[in-house]
Amino acid sequence: MFYFVEYLRAMRAIRIVGIILGILLLIGIIFRLSFLNGASPEAYVTTLQSSPTAHVSQQTLADGSTRITIDDPAKHTHAVILRSGKTVRMDVTEPSTSARQYHDTVSFGSTSMNEDAHKGVSHVTMMYKPGADFTLGGLFQISILIGVIVASILAGPLAKENDGHLELAWTKPVSRERYALAAIGTDIAAIVVSQLGLIAVVLLGTAMWVMPTITAGRNAAELILFSLLAPVAWYACLTCFSASLRRGVGMVLGLGWFLALVIPGVYAATSHTYNPVGIGVHAIFMALAYIDPIAYVPSMSPHGAHENMFASMSVSLASVALLAIAYLAFAVLQWRRVEA
């Protein structure tokens, strides 16, 4: 295992990610426990139904939905709960806890609530979905951020060897190319593991409140591949630009982030300019954006569509794949020419 040093580096990064995700999960558990039995709409319905003075009736409507009517004269409460597919609508009329007149609107995740209080009577309309739907592609897209963060931590493994360790790295019974590729492979595995870790934490965190359901969704395979390749391309980019450096790998990693975000920013900001300087700047930044893996990372529209500065998801996927391969190949080629 000649990539043992990189394995240790990768394990350290995974340990850090594990600690951060563990803390987030712990905060979620504490938050959930503090709202136990009181926070969900389902819990509220159960409370209304279980009142000893409540009259509960249930009927199935022609469209297959069910309607539960709860009438509790002792508590001056009347509620109608309509379950239609995955959506639940609840209308509750009950005594107001406040004498004043008010109107409230609350929206949290898939739950929205309107409350009108007037003359001591409150009318609440609540709509919610008793589960959380995830698409597979969407879940992986969430993990891109942690992927590029871990990629930034691990990037530049070759430059890290250049900084005073080549005598150890290059006196192993293995070729330089194989050594470099094994180190890179180890880091890529760590990036993927951290992404899967985040997905697991998202699902566990959701499951503490509502049961998550996962569907394939549109372009699942493309989205998953893109989500895994984008951080790798970013890692490859940083590794390539630092491969022949003896020192200053930290500067490349730090400046890399700055440039990666500035390039698509300037490209977008100058896209509607008509003066010659602006057009020139736009052309330069467009060219740079094509080799900036971060510029391909999509922002999610409310409709879940793929939106980035380039064309379709397929084009973006092919581009990041090509960038990853090209950057890594160039990194290895540079590194084998370095002298100790």
């Binding site: 043992f4 040093v5 240790l8 150890l168 019974p173």
Partner: protein, 299 residues
């Protein structure tokens, strides 16, 4: 396993760090590479190991050029620490164990104990000497056929220096070939059977230590006062070096030691003796070559 270096040259721009160096290192020998700072010792090692690209020349290990497989039986201790600051001693040992098929864990444990190294300790908290000791442990636990050791006693205390020398001698006795450099000529004299002296990237002297010692002598005369006239001595072709320390005059001579002893007597020396050259004399003589005879005066 023998090592052959033929016409090795390494240039950086116009500067020749190593200039047409040719050395033959017999199998099972301890070879000392000597030279002042900047003479090209480390560059020679780096070229031998492919860590720096030689401008020209050929290096063969057991008759074969260097390949990654060569490192299965060759180990290198560099001049400066190349250990990973953030890793522990144990992790470095583990790193070697996982790579080298010949790595002997029991031997590694013994060597750690010999140098009193704590396996839990991180490199960043270790002194220069401890780092050198760990590099030596990693090299010797690999049990290779060829050791290339660039100042392997640097920063070590005298006890540990002696231990490293013993390891070198034992390794050669076991059939390994050891090439090492050191600024401590006494150590090289104790361990090496062959040497080469580098200066300005060139080999200025080389061969078996016994042969080199046999060629020259020291003629030492003690005079009544320190007002000794050395006229004529420095131009004598047989003398390579003249040293004067107070009343003592030391001549390093290539030939005619008896005649020169008589000459010192006739100049008024109260006592004259002829002694064999030590390696330090040979080294100083070699790096001073160029001037036919130096007159070095010590207070």
């Amino acid at each position: 396993m023998s090592i052959s270096i033929a016409h090795l040259t390494k240039t950086y721009g116009k500067l020749a760090a190593v200039d047409d160096v040719s050395i033959e290192i017999p199998s099972g020998s301890v070879f000392g590479l000597l030279g002042p700072n900047g003479a090209g010792k480390t560059t020679t090692f780096k070229c031998m190991l492919g860590l720096a690209r030689a401008t020209s020349g050929e290096i063969l290990f057991g008759g074969k050029p260097l390949t990654p497989k060569t490192f299965e039986y060759l180990t290198y201790v560099p001049e400066r620490s190349v250990l990973y600051e953030w890793m522990s001693v144990r992790e470095h040992i583990e790193m070697q164990r996982r790579v080298f098929a010949r790595f002997n864990q029991k031997r590694a444990d013994e060597l750690l104990q010999m140098f009193a190294l704590d396996p839990r300790k991180r490199i960043r908290s270790m002194s220069k000497g401890m780092r050198t000791a760990l590099a030596v442990v990693l090299a010797f636990a690999n049990e290779p056929d060829i050791f290339i050791l660039d100042e392997p006693t640097s920063g070590l205390d005298p006890v540990n220096q002696r231990s490293v020398l013993k390891l070198i001698i034992d390794a050669a006795a076991g059939g390994s070939t050891v090439v090492f450099s050191s600024h401590q000529i006494g150590q090289v004299e104790r361990a090496a059977d062959h040497i080469a002296v580098l200066q300005h990237g060139k080999v200025v002297l080389g061969g078996a230590v016994d042969d080199l010692k046999a060629g020259s002598k020291i003629v030492e005369g003690i005079f009544e006062s320190d007002a000794v006239a050395l006229n004529g001595l420095s131009s004598d072709k047989r003398i390579t070096r003249v040293e004067k320390t107070g009343r003592i005059v030391r001549l390093t001579v290539r030939a005619g030691s008896d005649t020169l002893a008589q000459q010192l007597s006739s100049m008024g020396a109260q006592s004259v003796r002829i002694v064999d050259l030590n390696l330090e004399d040979i080294f100083l003589d070699a790096v001073d070559a160029g001037a036919s005879a130096d007159v070095v005066e010590h207070a």
